[in-house]
C-alpha cells in the first residue's frame, strides 16, 4: 500500500507544483500587463465614458448649465439624417477601396523591402518617407498639385470641383501616405518565414510566385490580419486628407468631418459625442468581424502550448 500512497503523494506534489507554477505564471502575466493597462485606463477611461455620457444629453458648450437628458434622441436625430448616411457611405467607400489598395501595394513593397538584393537600406528608408511626412503638409501639397493652373498634375482641369475625381484624389493621398505602414507591419511578419522552408521549396521546383502564395502568405496570415485590422480602423476615421483637399465639398465628407463640424464648429456636445460613439461602434463591429470571420487572432487566443 505504501507505493500507492507514495504515488498519490507524488501526484499531489506534482499537482501542487503545477498549480503553483500556474499561479506564478498568472501573477507574472498580470504584473507584466499591469502598467500598460493602468496607463490606458487612467488616460482614456474618463474621456471615453464622458463622451458616451454626453451623447444622452442635449448639450452645448456655450451653455454648460442647460444640459438636458434626452435618452436616445440624439441617436435618432443622427441616424435619421441623410447627411450622416451620405458621409457613412463615402467613408465606407474610402475605407474599403483604400485598405484593399494599401494591402496589395503594401505587400509588394514589403517583399521588395525584405528581399531586394541591392540598395536594401536605401529602399527601406525611402519607402518610409511618405509615412513620415506630416499628413496635413502632404495633403496640402496634393491639393496644390491638383489645383487648376498652379499645380503640376492639374494642368487645365479642376478635379477637386467634382465628386468622383475628388474622391479618387483622396484615395491617392491616403494610399500614398499609408502603404509604408502596411509594408512595415507585413515586413516584420515576412522576417519570420524560415529561409529553410523557402529554399527547400525552391529546390523542389516551386517558382517565386508559388513560393509566395503557398508558403509565405499562409505563414504571415496573422501579420496580414493585424495590419489590415488596424489599417481599416484608422481608415474609417479618415479626416486630415479630406479636410485639406476638399473640406467635404461635393459630398466628400467622411463621418469624422461631420463629427468635427458638429462638435467643434457647432459646439454641439450632445450630437458630436453621439457621432463619436457611433463611429466607435462601427469600428468595433469591423474589429469583431475581423476576429470572427477572418480569424484575426486576438492576441492571447489560439495556439495550444
Amino acid at each position: 500500500m505504501s507505493t500507492t500512497t507514495e504515488a498519490e503523494a507524488d501526484i499531489k506534489t506534482a499537482k501542487r507544483r503545477a498549480s503553483e507554477g500556474k499561479r506564478d505564471e498568472a501573477r507574472l502575466g498580470m504584473m507584466l500587463v499591469a502598467p500598460a493597462v493602468i496607463v490606458m485606463l487612467a488616460v482614456a477611461a474618463y474621456p471615453i465614458l464622458y463622451a458616451i455620457y454626453l451623447s444622452f444629453f442635449r448639450a452645448d458648450l456655450r451653455t454648460p448649465d442647460a444640459n438636458e437628458f434626452i435618452w436616445f434622441d440624439n441617436y435618432v436625430t443622427v441616424l435619421s439624417s441623410s447627411i450622416w448616411w451620405q458621409a457613412f457611405g463615402v467613408t465606407m467607400f474610402l475605407t474599403i477601396v483604400g485598405a484593399t489598395l494599401e494591402l496589395a501595394f503594401g505587400m509588394a513593397l514589403a517583399v521588395v523591402m525584405h528581399r531586394t538584393l541591392i540598395g536594401r537600406g536605401i529602399v527601406r528608408t525611402s519607402a518610409l518617407v511618405p509615412y513620415g511626412i506630416v499628413t496635413v503638409v502632404a495633403a496640402f501639397s496634393w491639393r496644390f498639385a491638383w489645383t487648376q493652373g498652379i499645380g503640376w498634375l492639374a494642368g487645365d482641369s479642376a478635379p477637386l470641383t467634382e465628386r468622383w475625381p475628388s474622391l479618387w484624389i483622396i484615395v491617392l493621398a491616403e494610399v500614398w501616405k499609408t502603404v509604408p505602414f502596411m509594408a512595415l507591419l507585413l515586413m516584420a511578419g515576412l522576417a519570420l518565414v524560415p529561409e529553410d522552408l523557402l529554399k527547400a521549396a525552391s529546390m523542389d521546383g516551386a517558382n517565386a510566385w508559388q513560393r509566395f502564395w503557398r508558403i509565405t502568405v499562409p505563414l504571415i496570415k496573422p501579420s496580414i490580419l493585424v495590419a489590415l485590422l488596424f489599417r481599416t480602423l484608422d481608415a474609417f476615421r479618415i479626416f486630415d486628407n479630406i479636410y485639406v483637399l476638399t473640406n467635404g465639398a461635393n459630398d466628400t465628407s467622411s463621418v469624422s468631418i461631420i463629427a468635427y463640424n458638429n462638435l467643434i464648429r457647432g459646439l454641439n456636445l450632445g450630437i458630436g459625442s453621439t457621432m463619436a460613439v457611433l463611429i466607435f461602434l462601427t469600428t468595433a463591429i469591423i474589429a469583431f468581424l475581423f476576429v470572427k470571420l477572418f480569424g484575426a487572432a486576438a492576441p492571447g487566443q489560439g495556439e495550444a502550448r
Binding site: L28, G29, V134, S141, A276, A298, P299
Partner: protein
Amino acid sequence: MTAATETTGKKFGWAAADLVVLLYAFIPVVWIISLSLKGDDTLNDGNYLPRNPTGEAYSTIFQNDDFIRALINSIGICLISTFIALVLGTMAAYAIARLEFPGKRTIVATALLVSMFPQIALVTPLFKIETAIGIFDTWLGLIIPYVTFALPLAIYTLSAFFREIPWELEKAAKMDGATPYQAFRKVIAPLAMPGVFTTAILAFIACWNDFLFAISLTSTNNARTVPAAMSYFTGATTFEKPTAAIAAAAVVITIPIVIFVLFFQRRIVAGLTSGAVKG
C-alpha cells in the same frame, strides 16, 4: 544560364523594383521640396521643379525661435513616448502571447477599444483633466496621451510577433534552468527585435506627425511640437499662406525621421537564423 548571369538577371530585376519604390516615394516629395524652394514669383507657375530656386524659406524658419524650440520638443517628447510605449508594450505583449492569466481577453478588448474611439471627442475631456492636474502645456501632458494611444498597436504587433516565435526555444531555455524572466530576456527578446523596432518606428512617426493633441494640449512653446508650430506660421498678410515656409518646415522635420529609420532599419532583419531551433 550560368549562375552568374542568373544573379545578374536577378539583381537587375530587383534594381528595377527598387526604382519603382523610389519613384513612388519621391515624386510627391520632390514636389514638396520644390514648393519650399519657390519664391513668391514662381509659387503659382505650376511647374514641377522650381525655376528660380531660393533658400529664403529655409532661412526664415530657422530664424524662427518657436520652430527651433518646437523641433526640440518634438524630438524629446517622441523619443520618450516611443521608449515608454515600447517598454510597457513589450511586457504586456509577452504576457498576452505567452502566459495564461485571468482577464486576458478583457484587456485585449480594452486595448482595442482605446485605439478605436475617435480622438476628437476625447480632446476636450483630456484638456479638462490636464488643466486640473496641472500638466497642460508640458512634455508630460503630451507624452501620456501619446503612450496611451500607441500602446494598443504596440501590444497587437508585438504579441502577434511573440506568438510566431517557436515555443520550443523557451522550453529549451527553461529546461536549462532559466526562470521565465531570464527566458524572456535572453532568448525571446533578441528574436523579437524585428517586431520591437517595427513598433518603435510606427510609434515614433505617429507621435511625430500628431496634430490634434499637439494643438489642443499645448499653449506655449514649452511643449508645442512641430506640426502645431507649422500651423502657426503666418504669411505676409492674413490671406497669404506661407506655402514655402510650411513646405520647408515639413522637409526639415522629415530628416530626423529618415535618420531614425536609417538607424533602425538594419535591425528589422530576417529574424530567425536557420540554426536557432536545431540542437
